[in-house]
Assembly symmetry: C2
Homo-oligomer: 342 residues x 2
């Protein structure tokens, strides 16, 4: 079983493997740089459903089924599913998983939900409690805009710091190690809130949580950015990424040359009108499953820190003048299950 | 570590203990039959805050701090907190845990959240991955009414099948076994949806999920109601409890004499105007921490099945005509960590 090392990090004893993954996106994701890596690009963002919320549930259902198909297993062979999304009462997941028949652990860490799911699945597979577990997270531009900002019909203006919620889902299967990538460490986040109140500047709100969790991990493992191929944040976007560099520099860590952000990968900011980048629980999930997982499988990436961040606000807390508590969970994945080389 | 027995149930190898618990309620809970068992009854349901959502966050913060005080430990000694609530984006928990400084696993299983938290904490303590973990869940009548039904000022009529959301929170500490109760099995729920669409009749919607999970557990362990002192559902209320009996009878199980419901315990339906009983994620959490935990500690209850249910709907899904998917997680607690006597 995993054991605590240092103050915040859990090291796997028998690192579980990400056995399979699948990602589905919609029209805008299909026009982006990662288009060819998605399993399915469905240009109809309603996914054949009558409402945006039903569309997101359908997206989750289709994505987990695609993942199970790729893994070559039936849903009854999966011990549990860990999943969540951004919608009120996580209905993207609860309705999306309604017919799947797998025991469900519902999660909420906003856009860090996929990492929370991966951490819990890995810990319980490493403990030999679960043989294999599915993980899933999604977001949908239209359901998120209506819920968090304005209905699309309103035509609200978006400031330059705002990010574009990806219409995407990623699902993966975590099981006993058979092939790379292996999940070697997880660091569970503590809520960070430096007082940012602008709900159109999530990157700035979330950067301190990424810095805190990354610093906890570096400190617990005695490593730094030089030890890794890539430090992949979830959706800090252009504004949040720059703030993360500055916060890490204050602590003596230079991560600029090793950092990328899923929110800056899924869309092309020069060609696509997304302002500061992408966001949404489905962004990190889909980029991981579509692009990162195959890259690790093929050996192009060998040692990765995956650090999705979540802004734990609601429209109500924003209206009540509250600042934005944020959280970041870290997953360390490597090409070998061996303890050497951290 | 816990191991799967049968199809759905996980049996602990080294059953973790519920080391400490605390519960806080408000005015109506203070007028109910369990009043004397609460650690704190704060008759001011605003808990000194300016909005109902902030009040619920404050309730969570006060409850976890009271629990840590009773356990005699500092928050830094707790490896993780597993928590959730009913509010959009779980802000009762994210704002309530903002200053606690413990790694947070955010959860959502509606009114079954406390059981999901207890299951995950127990599985990871049993695996020796976490030394001790806190769990918490809450609900607040005023924040729930505004979010799920109508603002209080509207004065909406409540049908007889409706339940009254408890303004309450329960927090507990799960750790290596030292004293009863011990967590011996958990059965994680699969979503059940028999097509109930009436959001004012949650008991009817949730009863099938309780029946499914309880049947899975009985089948996996080869036991029945006779083996237990008490089968305690979360908040089926009067309507849902009767439906649960009927559904279990169809499967050949008679649970009538062994069953109680937290939603029928926290208020007195004859004296208090709560219609079909109480509900809310805080109902099962508070009844467990205030009343059940001490009863088990004192040996009055020896063998308990705790089966909170959650209705995984949102106001949006109701408006869109969707039925109500529900889930029930089961926790088996006993006075001895020994495997005998299931």
């Amino acid at each position: 079983m995993a054991k605590k090392i240092g103050k915040y990090t859990l090291r796997m004893n028998n690192p579980p493997s990400v056995i399979a993954g699948a990602a589905i996106g919609s029209k805008k994701e299909g026009e982006g740089p990662l288009s060819a890596y998605f399993d399915i690009i469905n240009p109809d963002s309603s996914f054949g459903e009558k409402t945006w919320e039903k569309a997101e549930s359908r997206l989750q259902k289709d994505t987990i089924n695609k993942m199970l198909e790729k893994a070559g297993i039936a849903s009854v062979e999966v011990d549990a599913v860990f999943g969540g999304d951004l919608l009120n009462q996580c209905v993207g997941t609860t309705f999306g998983m309604r017919e799947i028949g797998i025991p469900l652990f519902g999660l909420f860490s906003a856009c860090a939900t996929f990492a929370e799911a991966m951490a819990l699945a890995a810990l319980l597979v490493d403990a030999d409690t679960l043989a294999q577990a599915a993980i899933i997270a999604s977001s949908h531009f239209c359901s998120a805009e209506r819920q968090f900002r304005f209905p699309l019909e309103y035509g609200g203006q978006r400031p330059p710091s705002s990010q574009w919620t990806a219409t995407a889902a990623g699902a993966a299967l975590i099981g006993t190690h058979v092939q790379p990538p292996y999940i070697k460490h997880v660091t569970i986040g503590i809520i960070e809130d430096l007082g940012v109140t602008d709900a159109n500047n999530m990157g700035a709100a979330m950067a301190p949580s990424a810095a805190a969790t990354l610093t906890h991990f570096f400190s617990d493992t005695g490593t730094n950015a030089d030890n890794y191929d890539l430090i992949l944040s979830g959706d800090l976007g252009a504004v949040g990424s720059e703030l993360l560099y500055q916060l890490m520099e204050r602590g003596g860590y230079d991560i600029r040359k090793k950092h990328a952000d899923c929110g800056l990968m899924i869309f092309d900011r020069d060609r696509q009108d997304v302002h500061a980048g992408a966001s949404g629980a489905g962004c990190a999930a889909a980029v991981f499953c579509a692009y990162i997982l195959p890259s690790m499988r093929e050996g192009k990436l060998k040692n990765l820190l995956f650090i999705p961040t979540g802004a734990l606000l609601s429209p109500t807390t924003v209206q009540q003048g509250e600042s934005i508590p944020c959280i970041c969970h870290l997953i360390h994945l490597a090409d070998s299950p061996e303890p050497a080389g951290v």
